[in-house]
């Protein structure tokens, strides 16, 4: 199934520059946001991870068309 990965701020560097932080991926059923991001090398413990803008349950599996969004946990704006 297809999911979208959106990485912002310094996490854009985990994808090739031409992606500008965004990529569409074909993934197997049953994967989680955390497993995909970990496979890209993103340090999950230091990250904020959202699925379609909400904070997912860590065990929650992704669904067709979901957007996985991540950035480094940091100070505010």
């Amino acid at each position: 199934m297809k999911v979208f990965i959106k990485l912002v701020a310094t996490y854009r560097e985990y994808l090739p520059p031409e992606c500008k932080g965004k990529v569409e991926m074909d993934v197997a059923e049953g994967v989680t946001a955390v497993s995909i991001l970990s496979s890209l090398g993103i340090p999950i413990e230091e990250s904020v991870v959202l699925v379609d803008g909400r904070s997912p349950n860590p065990e929650e599996t992704l669904y067709e068309g979901a957007t996985v969004f991540a950035f480094p946990a940091t100070a505010g704006g």
Partner: protein
């Protein structure tokens, strides 16, 4: 004579009416009980004026307040607070700024400058250690912030630092800021208008005083190690690389980026106004406040024809207010508008939110085109800039804008178009998608300010840990704690960016173990995290008493109907409003206040405020 460490225990009181100054000393027990900075200032404000007085009358008192850690080796010990009654909101304000000026002010050997009365003609204050002069400023009146700063430095000392107002403050524009080091701002609630009402154009400071350290070696070890820790982490941090402009992507994803006066929380032009866009187009280099290891400032230059300029900004809040809230995705125009706010001396949030309020009311047919003189629609970048200038100078329709969004909307019989709490414009987080922020805006002692207890750290940014922004559970207790913790940060003289991450335990309840240690090594006081938080609670409750005496009631602890009745329509917060009626009684109970939001006699007794 008591020896003070961290604090000097000395106040400079300036009577502008009689053009006299005097030095006062501070009781050591008071120093400790009220922490410093914002905490000391509310006590002097409460004791020195009638909270019901007109904010622009000579009866109002204007206080510049450094904290015991301002000028200390603690990382980000470079902040000061401006505390006064706000002419925009009619309640208290405390507005924070960094840069160099606060440290230079601390080097004069005074903790606080207290301005009273009103000068007959424009003046500025020049403080060089104990040498204090009130000088004429007629020749500088009318000038913008950069030129004012240059003239004052030329007339005093080139190594001094300046805090001043621009033309907006002189005209009592209720968005007027007090600018320091040209581009840093104590921005919120119209503090610049209070300065203007006193005919005080600026304050120049320098000195040779150094604060005492109760445990010099201990502070060298602990404070400097903390600085190294912050510095090491910040080398690769988002705040250094992108500054706060990394935030629009985050809030847009969460559906809480203020868009078109908070009609929605998602902006189609977000990729034109985010951190990568700013870095690619206008960023010269990151900049820092005095000795700050975080380096989050944006030093920028715009060459785009029509928007040329150079200076600091924009920060996230400025992008949200002048950009997405006005429907503007032209980053050159937003950056230019930010420069203009700095030059005229205005708060980018109130300016942007007031113009976006006018845009919505124009599009709704409530403000007729004849009043404005031309169309003023969302997305009109040049209109936004044009009316920003008119607002600063009170020209034409700008005179109405200069009163802030609440007065503007109310003057047409529709205050509900003003996105304010206690008449202070909202910062960049739609509270329908961050419920704790909604409770904060409603209860904060200064109105809708994120700086009053920014639970967005946890609800949005995952610091110290990520919590669910859409639930109301635990939010009353959390908001009370964040308000108290931010009171501590403001009173100590530190920056929130450093403090939330490093001065508290890494727990969502922000337990101030490391802050207590910094305070004790510096001042020699024997604070525990408990007594430090109790001191913050004392300060917070005294501020609340000021509000109550100024006429605030439970009815003012609220939000515009948009956030209580109109659910968001897209994004993860679609369908959500702020359940304020559910949270507010629990918040009052957590605070030890009665059902009307009044501190109980028992609570006041406990805090030594009875």
């Amino acid at each position: 004579m008591t020896t003070f460490n961290g604090w000097y225990g000395k106040i400079l009181r300036i009577d502008l009416t009689n053009q006299t100054t005097k030095i006062e000393t501070v009781d050591p027990q008071f120093a400790k009980d009220y922490i410093g900075g914002r905490g000391w200032a509310i006590k002097y404000l409460m004791d020195g004026m009638d909270p019901a007085a007109d904010a622009l009358s000579p009866e109002n008192i204007l206080i510049f307040a450094t904290g015991p850690l301002t000028g200390s080796p603690a990382p980000t010990g470079n902040r000061y607070m401006v505390v006064t009654k706000s002419p925009l909101t009619g309640v208290l304000t405390n507005s924070n700024s960094g840069g160099d000026f606060p440290t230079w002010m601390k080097r004069t050997g005074f903790d606080l400058f207290i301005f009273e009365g009103r000068a007959k003609t424009p003046v500025y204050l020049w403080v060089n250690d104990d040498q204090v002069e009130i000088r004429p400023a007629d020749h500088i009146w009318g000038k913008q912030v950069p030129e004012t700063t240059d003239i004052m430095l030329a007339e005093t000392h080139k190594k001094a630092r300046v805090a001043c107002i621009g033309p907006a403050g002189e005209r009592l524009v209720k968005a007027a800021a007090i600018m320091n080091d040209k581009d840093r701002a104590a921005a919120r609630s119209g503090v610049g208008a209070v300065m203007g009402s006193k005919n005080l154009k600026g304050v120049v400071a320098m000195g040779t005083h150094k604060i005492g350290m109760a445990d010099y070696d201990g502070m060298q070890t602990f404070g400097r190690a903390m600085s190294r820790e912050v510095g090491e982490a910040s080398k690769t941090s988002v705040l250094r690389i992108y500054g706060t402009p990394y935030v629009p992507d985050v809030t847009n994803e969460m559906g809480i980026l203020p868009t078109r006066n908070f009609q929605t929380g998602r902006f189609e032009g977000v990729e034109n106004i985010n951190g990568p866009a700013l870095n690619a187009s206008f960023l010269l280099r990151p900049g820092a406040c005095h000795r700050c290891p975080i380096v989050c400032n944006r030093i920028t230059k715009v060459d785009t024809p029509g928007y040329e300029g150079e200076g600091e900004g924009p920060e996230y809040e400025s992008i949200g207010a002048l950009g997405s809230s006005c429907g503007v995705d032209n980053l050159a125009a937003i950056t230019k508008a930010n420069y203009l706010c700095n030059e005229y001396g205005m708060d980018t949030i109130t300016v942007g939110m007031t113009i976006s309020c006018a845009m919505e009311m124009y599009e709704a047919g409530i403000i007729p085109e004849s009043d404005i003189g031309e169309p003023l629609k969302f997305g009109d970048a040049d209109g936004m800039i044009k009316f920003l200038k008119k607002m600063a100078l009170r020209e034409g329709f700008g005179d109405k804008l200069a009163e802030g969004s609440y007065a503007l909307a109310a003057s047409y019989g529709h205050p509900e178009y003003s996105m304010t709490a206690k008449k202070l414009e909202f910062p960049g987080y739609d509270p329908r998608g961050a419920k704790g922020m909604g409770l904060l805006y409603a209860t904060s002692n200064i109105g809708a300010s994120h700086m009053a207890g920014d639970l967005a750290y946890a609800e949005v940014f995952g610091t110290p840990e990520k919590i669910d922004p859409l639930t109301t559970e635990h939010k009353p207790e959390l908001i009370m704690r964040y308000e108290d913790a931010f009171t501590l940060i403001d009173s100590a003289g530190l920056c929130v960016f450093m403090s939330v991450r490093y001065a508290f335990d890494k727990d969502v309840m922000l337990w101030p173990t490391r802050l207590a240690k910094l305070m004790n090594l510096t001042t020699g006081a024997d604070y525990t995290p408990e007594t430090l938080l109790q001191a913050a609670e004392r300060v917070y409750n005294l501020e609340r008493l000021f509000l109550l005496k100024a006429g605030v009631t439970k009815a003012d602890d609220t939000l515009p109907p948009r956030f209580l009745e109109e659910p968001l329509t897209e994004g993860p917060a679609a369908g959500h409003v702020v359940e304020l009626a559910e949270m507010l009684p629990k918040y009052y109970a957590a605070r030890g206040w009665d059902d009307d939001g009044v501190p109980t006699p028992e609570k006041l007794q406990e805090l030594g405020l009875a």
